[in-house]
Symmetry: C2
Subunit: 322 residues, 2 copies
Amino acid sequence: MGTVVALGGQVGGAKLAEGLYRLRGAKLAVIVNTGDDYEYLGLPISPDVDTMLYALAGIADANKGWEPAGESYGCHGMLTRLGGPVDVPLGDRALALQLLRADALRTERSPTEITLELAQRLGIEARVLPMSDDPVRTIVHTESGAISFHDYFMDLKCEPAVRSFQYGGADEARLSDAALDALHAPDLEAVVLVPCNPYHTLLPMLAVNGMRAALRKRGAPVIAVSPIIGGRALQGSAAKMMQELGREVSARAIAMEFHKLIDGIVIDSADQALAEGIRASGIEVLAVPTFMRNADDRLKLARAVLDFARAVRMRREIAVDA
Amino acid sequence: MGTVVALGGQVGGAKLAEGLYRLRGAKLAVIVNTGDDYEYLGLPISPDVDTMLYALAGIADANKGWEPAGESYGCHGMLTRLGGPVDVPLGDRALALQLLRADALRTERSPTEITLELAQRLGIEARVLPMSDDPVRTIVHTESGAISFHDYFMDLKCEPAVRSFQYGGADEARLSDAALDALHAPDLEAVVLVPCNPYHTLLPMLAVNGMRAALRKRGAPVIAVSPIIGGRALQGSAAKMMQELGREVSARAIAMEFHKLIDGIVIDSADQALAEGIRASGIEVLAVPTFMRNADDRLKLARAVLDFARAVRMRREIAVDA
């Protein structure tokens, strides 16, 4: 049983990471997108990191995975009475994490150290790692101008059509040492791109200095899991964005976004017909049920992904030996 | 109907201020102690100011006047799960105020401006004014060493015997312009020291640069209201502190703390027997029921205080004319 590195964010990604965590425990490292981070009332909010922490700690709400179960809104209600700002519906429990993060940042500790400590406080044995200790901010270029992803999401409800994405600061941002260490683990078993939006979750991660190079070292198979099932995104705006960017809305298009970086992709059984076309481009394919309704589904998909990675690895080793 | 200035803090003080507010509305200015302020998770907490805001906004909890009614503890619960710090039981609604204050302070606005804005957001027409925009921190010298009032209160539960108080920074702290303006109002009708702990609420205020001078100008009668009834403090540690400082625990001793600063004192009917002794020291006395159980009691006491102040003023004017 080797080290597994998961890359990504969002609720779907956190679900698969949770499955992987149940299989690999402390051997799992999750590198998380921080391109969607923003400030609210002076608090540094890191939505993908928090969603991941809630999932791995087993305290995520079953329906609203981006917040802790049993969340309340006392602070938000009072802010509403006080005339705002209330554009961010930050819950009371979530605030605890934000306050601890903000307080720790004032002591000049790095986002990586702080996130590891938050994970530890939540009893998580896996390493949860922001992709970089340097700021990266995803900018959405839309038909009506450029805007931060956070504002695009909260203020514009993802409505204006997207034209392109820009990962502000990514050129200068360095993959964190802890993330590099994980990707260079001597026992690296697999790197898994968990199912999430490519444009504002995975691609900003790949834009960070050192990430593509670390993946290209091919210490282990790199496996993506498609967030698109049967031409639709199960959650979020991935399908809408693909359409607006002129991509086919399909698992095949997802595979192409990561062409030459991934060794294999896990697509949904419903998309079985796409397998051959994807294989033709040199990417191995596993088609299994990928929709995660419950903990059992998450575990099953995680197991399928790691089995697939092992098979890919063995075939590659055989190929090298031949 | 002239301007009334209330000085003080704490729950009892806020109750009388609320009564005064119902009588004078926008003509009331409340100058509030900030010597008990502290930081919690990087948030600047101003307990006396917040208690006053809740009271005047009519949203204070009926029993726990230092917090808003309907308070919840979602954030505190999560902080507990995260391993603290949880020494301050800060509620979710209170957090909204703290976050707005912290955020406003980062924009370099003064505590006075920020407090006035918070009051306005809460629909309060009276001016609520921190005593100074400069920091003052009350230090309690106890038998076991010196400690901030906040730590004395929260960590030590006010247990070690007090020897003396020190108002750190008060020498350099300047009474705010807004507080000075209120005390110099041409139509100043009365200055009321609301019932609260002398040692860590009123005396730090009197120690601020400019406060004693402004009171000594005698633009209007200065009236204290005793927080001691029948030899006991109804709330808080005033009686305990008086004992430890070697004072008699009585309304008379309260009058003596403010000797030469106040023109009159309102004591409880139960302490009627002390009136003559207090008058002998040149301080006028009104003995009425001072225990405030409800809004009606608060209004009644406020009216009695202002009537008393008017009588004191008239007697003084008569004396001058004679």
